[in-house]
Every structure is written in C-alpha cells, then in structure tokens.
Amino acid sequence: MAGLELLSDQGYRLDGRKPSELRKVQARMGVFAQADGSAYIEQGNTKALAVVYGPHEVRGSRSKTLHDRAVINCQYSMATFSTAERKRRPHGDRKSSEMSLHLKQTFEAAVLTQLYPRSQIDIYVKILQSDGGNYSACVNAATLAVIDAGIPMRDYVCACSAGFVEDTPLADLCHAEESGGGTSLALALLPRSGQIALLQMDARLHQDHLDPLIEAAMTACKGLSDVLDSVVRQHLQEVSVLTRD
C-alpha cells in the first residue's frame, strides 16, 4: 500500500486519529443571501459549499416535469484549485457526472418530493478543497442547505466514508487513506430509521468484513448527524435572536 503505514502499532492513524474518530466538523448555514438555502461545511481539510434553489417551476425542457413529485437537479463541481494538481474541468467529466447522479439519488430518497408536484429543486455543490470524503462532505453540506431552504425531509441525510485496514474499520477517510488503493465505502444514512439512502464501495473486501465496515460507517454517520443537528439548532437560535427585535 504505497509503503504508507495507515494504522500504527499503537492503533493510531496517519493524522493521529483513532480508527473510529471523525475529523473536526465545522459548518455554517445561510451563507448566501441570494439563494433559498445555502451551507458551508468543513470536515477536516475537505471544504464544501452547497446552494439550494427552489422549489420553483421546472426550467429548461418541460418534458422533465413529473406530475406527482418534484424533480431534483444536482450539480457537483470541484474548484480547479481544490486538488494538489490543478483540475482542468471543474465539472462534466465522468466522475463528476457520476457524483451528481449519486447526490440526486440520495436526495430523491430523503426529500419529501411528493409535496411539490410539477416543480424543481436545484442543489449545487462545490468542493473548495478536497481531502478525501468528497461525497460525504457534499451530502452533509447539501442537507444543511436543504434545511436552510425550508424544504421538508424525512430526516437528516448524513454521509460518511469508511475504510478497512488490517482488520480494523476506519471511519471518515482522509485523502492519503483514500488514495492508498484500499477499500473505501461511502454511505448515506437516515440516522433515525437506520435506512441507507446510498451505498457505494470500491476495491476488494472479503464478504465477512462487510458487516463491521457498514456498522462503522453507520456509527460515524450517527455521530455526524448529532453535529449537524447542533449546527441547525445553533443557527436557528442566532436567527431568532436577530429577528426578535
């Protein structure tokens, strides 16, 4: 694995975390005035910005309209300066369109789309700095933005990545751990019901190890949901203080 020791003999990871420890999460809601909802999140060094417009009338081709629920339109992009090597195209390559697709699926599962027939909800996500766990940062940021926009959801959608090194599941992978070529699993969870909105895994993993890995990712997601919940509550408190007088 590229000569990197991902887990030390003492049981610590490259950046000094324990296997099940998350990176520091900082988030803010309502960062833009123009959008209906917006949020910014930092998970360690991964930084993501999410903006939500809608629900509004379907733009573009009318044929996309669904008569019984809202259309969710997602666009994922990475800033050209987000990675160590400068990216040429911020969006539109295969990986980005796949990511957009996954975000769309995640939020179609979580947002109560049937409340807004014949309308559209736009979710734009941008990665400002990429240090592993892009998908999870995007989902978490978008969740906050959707909440900020006041669009009803079944539950928070929390996403987290997990890896598997030396028979130990690692939660919330950083870039070095992700690029080592080991197993990496991304999971989006609705924490209260324990339902998985999206599951994606790469690289080889023995079948017997799947259970502990999913379990670790789910625990991490639940941890994240507590953080997101406190962010939302704090934001509400701030806003209500501002509007009181």
């Binding site: 796949e98 699926q105 179609e108 599962a109 998985i196 909105a197 599951l199 994606q200």
Partner: protein, 432 residues
C-alpha cells in the same frame, strides 16, 4: 424516441406478480436467465446472452505512453456503448444517465478492483505501455445490462491475447502472431456483477430483473464479487431505502451466483481453447445456434399446479398422454401443458418466453443437436460445444436458505403417481 410508458394496468400486474413471488418468465426470485457465452474467431471477442439481453465485448490493445504518475503501469480502458440498435429509447451520441452509470460501474468493477495485472503490460518504463481497451456494445436490451456487460468484459479479457514484444537495446519489436504466439493477460480474479432490484420500498427483491421488471422497480443494488467471496464494488441506485440486513443478505446471494457464473466462464474458455487446439472450427458462426425454418412448432404454456387439488390428477394424465411430445418427456408430471391457441409458429428458435422452463430449453437444444446430427453426420461434434448454457437447477437453489422463498417448482407431490412413466429418460443435469 422516448420509451413508451408502461400502463398502470401492466405496472400493477407486474407488481402483483412479484408480490406473489411469480415472475413473467416463470423464474424463481433468485433465478438467473439462461447465460450463453460465445467467443469469436478473434481473440478477445465475446458475446454474452442473458436471456434475451445480448452484449458483445471486444478487447483490443495498442502501445501508448503511460500516465505520468504511473510510468510502469499499463492502462485498462473500458467503454460501454448503448447503440440505438439495442432499444429504441437509446439515442446515439448522447451521454444519458444510464450510460454514465453503467460505464462507471464497469470501470469500478474491473479497473478499481485491479482484476488484471497492469504492471505486466509495461514495455519500456515511462515510455511505452500496452493500453488494453475493452469495448462493450449492447446489442439487445432486455434488462440487466450491467451483469451481462461485466460477464462479457471479463470473459473477453480472459480470452484476449496480446502480441508478444521483444526489446533489443532501445528497439522494441512487436511480433505478429505468426512469428511468436501471442500472450494472454494475467488475470488476478474475475469480478462479476450481480444486480438486485427492489420493489415496494424494498419489501421484495428479485435477482436479474428483465426489462419489464426494471421498469417497475424502485431501486437497484449492484454487487460485484469474485469467486473468492471478495466484494469488488457495491452500488445502490434509485431512491430506495435499504437496511443493513438486506445488503448483507444480497451479498450472500451474490456470492453463490458469482461462483456459478465464474465456473461457466471458465468452462466456456476451456471449450474454446480445446476447439482452437484441435484446429476445429470456432467463432460465432459455429457457436451461435442456427435458426432454420424447417418445422412447425407450437409453444406450450405451462400451467402452475402448485395449489391445485389432487383430484385433478386424472385430467392431468389425460392431457399428458394426449400430447406425446418431447416436452412432456422431461418428467414434470403434474403440470399440464396447454397449447397456445392458434399460435403455431414456424421455425425452431421462435420461442415463447412465457413459462418456458430451463429444462425444456435444454431439451430443445438437445433435440436440435440430434436433428443436426441426423442431417449431416460429417459435421464435427465441436460445433455445439462453444455454447454453454447455465440454468439454475434446483439443487443450487437450495444453497440459499431463505425462509421467505416459496419453492413453487418443488411443490409437486412427491408421491409420484403411477404416471405413464416417461421418467425413463433421465432429467438432464444442467452443465456446470
């Protein structure tokens, strides 16, 4: 052209069937359709039939400069194309969501799981490496493209031989197949995708959904595994909510299916190798079943008798003895065969997809083979060996223990009555 939407009636009918554990083509919940693998005359050319879904994979290679960050590694390039030939809803030259999804899944299934040794593809470090390119073309779309594509791609890669190269000083010589035998790629393992479709918020699950079933499904879970029970990739899609238990259960089912399919691929490869070695004829022309219009054939639709009274047995026997056809020879006594009214078709391969069991399929094939043998005996036996047919036999079914499953097929009364014993011809064991 946008695909014609499914009518509400049809949708409800399909869902009702799934609720009652019945599928349109008479399969069980966890059954695959018949898989056929055929290789072309060229190395690395492979057609996979999964029921009526047909996919062609062609592997090719060329010498290119390696990527900057990986100077000693060859490149595996995968590309899947949905040609408008496969389905009227596929438009040429447009990156549809389905196309992006399939391409990425295939890439992750084969490249990210490192199924081939890319370092062995290096010729001169930092200057020349082999780029192996896998082009997968969908020829006919009848659902579950992903599984068919992954089988075709890995079978094509295993079948492929690249030209040998020699290096003298800084001179690189690529030898033609006449000068030196081409070398096979080194394959570490064979990842194969298994798709599960979910219905009614994940309450019901089907393996290998056909096109109709795909159109009413809520969501899809694709698990790629190899026969060592290693999961190479998992992807859920569609807005479904899964529970962890469901994922784990699916992974268990997948491991069983994957080992069956891997065996089938190795068997097909072995057959092809033997055919080539003996100098026999190989290629699609030999291995595709011939479709000739020689006979009148009417299809029998089978009636499920699992919940019928025993009293109806007399009637059953009457119908049985009436139709002394090879179809009833299989030995499935209590299910009468009803002729489709007025639908006598011309030709051998025109088959009604409704309710044709696997055993009958094989029987048909055997019959066809016999017919051929009669007609021209000088033809080598080899001609048939290219096509390997797998069918999920009931023994294999038993491996997956799930209480929810209803063994409809097995539910025939064990007390085989003194039926006009057509059992003398033993039930043909499926090849595996």
């Amino acid at each position: 052209m946008r695909e014609t939407p499914l009518s509400n009636c049809e949708r409800q009918f399909l869902l009702k069937g799934i609720e009652e554990k019945k599928r349109l083509d008479g399969r069980q919940t966890y059954d695959y359709r018949n898989i056929k693998i055929a290789f072309g005359t060229d190395y690395g050319c492979c057609i996979v039939d999964l029921g009526k879904t047909r996919v062609l994979a062609q592997v090719s290679c060329e010498l290119v400069a390696p990527k900057e960050n990986r100077p000693t590694e060859g490149i595996l390039f995968l590309s899947l194309e949905l040609s408008p030939m496969a389905s009227p809803s596929f438009e040429p030259g447009r990156q549809s969501e389905l196309l992006v999804k399939l391409n990425r899944l295939l890439e992750r299934c084969l490249r990210n799981s490192k199924c081939i040794d890319t370092e062995s593809l290096c010729v001169v470090s930092g200057e020349k490496v082999w780029q192996v390119r896998v082009d997968v073309h969908v020829l006919n779309h009848d659902g579950n493209l992903m599984d068919a594509a992954s089988i075709a791609a890995i079978a094509g890669l295993s079948h492929f031989r690249r030209p040998d190269v020699g290096i003298q000083g800084d001179q690189v010589t690529v030898y033609s197949p006449e000068e030196r035998d081409p070398v096979p790629l080194s394959i570490y393992h064979m990842p194969i995708c298994v798709s599960f479709s979910f219905y009614l918020q994940g309450t019901y699950l089907l393996v290998d959904p056909c096109e109709r079933e795909e159109r009413v499904m809520d969501g899809l879970l694709v698990i790629a595994m190899n026969k060592h029970r290693e999961i190479c990739s998992i992807q859920s899609s569609g807005g479904i909510m899964l529970l962890k238990e469901q994922v784990l259960r699916c992974s268990k089912i997948a491991s069983v299916k994957v080992s069956e399919i891997t065996d089938l691929i190795s068997k097909a490869l072995e057959n092809d190798r033997r055919a080539r070695k003996e100098g026999g004829r190989c290629g699609f022309a030999e291995s595709m079943p011939v479709e000739r219009i020689t006979v009148l054939k009417s299809d029998g639709a089978q009636i499920e008798m699992s919940d019928a009274e025993v009293g109806s047995e007399a009637v059953t026997m009457a119908t049985e003895s009436q139709s002394a056809e090879p179809l009833s020879e299989v030995g499935r006594v209590p299910s009468p065969v009803v002729r489709a009214p007025g639908a006598v078709q011309v030709g051998e391969c025109l088959q009604n997809a409704w309710g044709l069991g696997e055993e009958e399929d094989e029987d048909d094939e055997e019959e066809e083979e016999r017919l051929e043998m009669q007609e021209d005996n000088q033809r080598p036996m080899k001609s048939k060996s290219e096509v390997v047919v797998i069918s999920d036999s009931e023994e294999e079914e038993v491996v997956i223990l799930h209480p929810k499953k209803t063994q409809v097929k097995d539910s025939k009364p064990e007390t085989k009555p003194e039926a006009p014993s057509k059992k003398k011809k033993k039930k043909k064991q499926p090849l595996h």
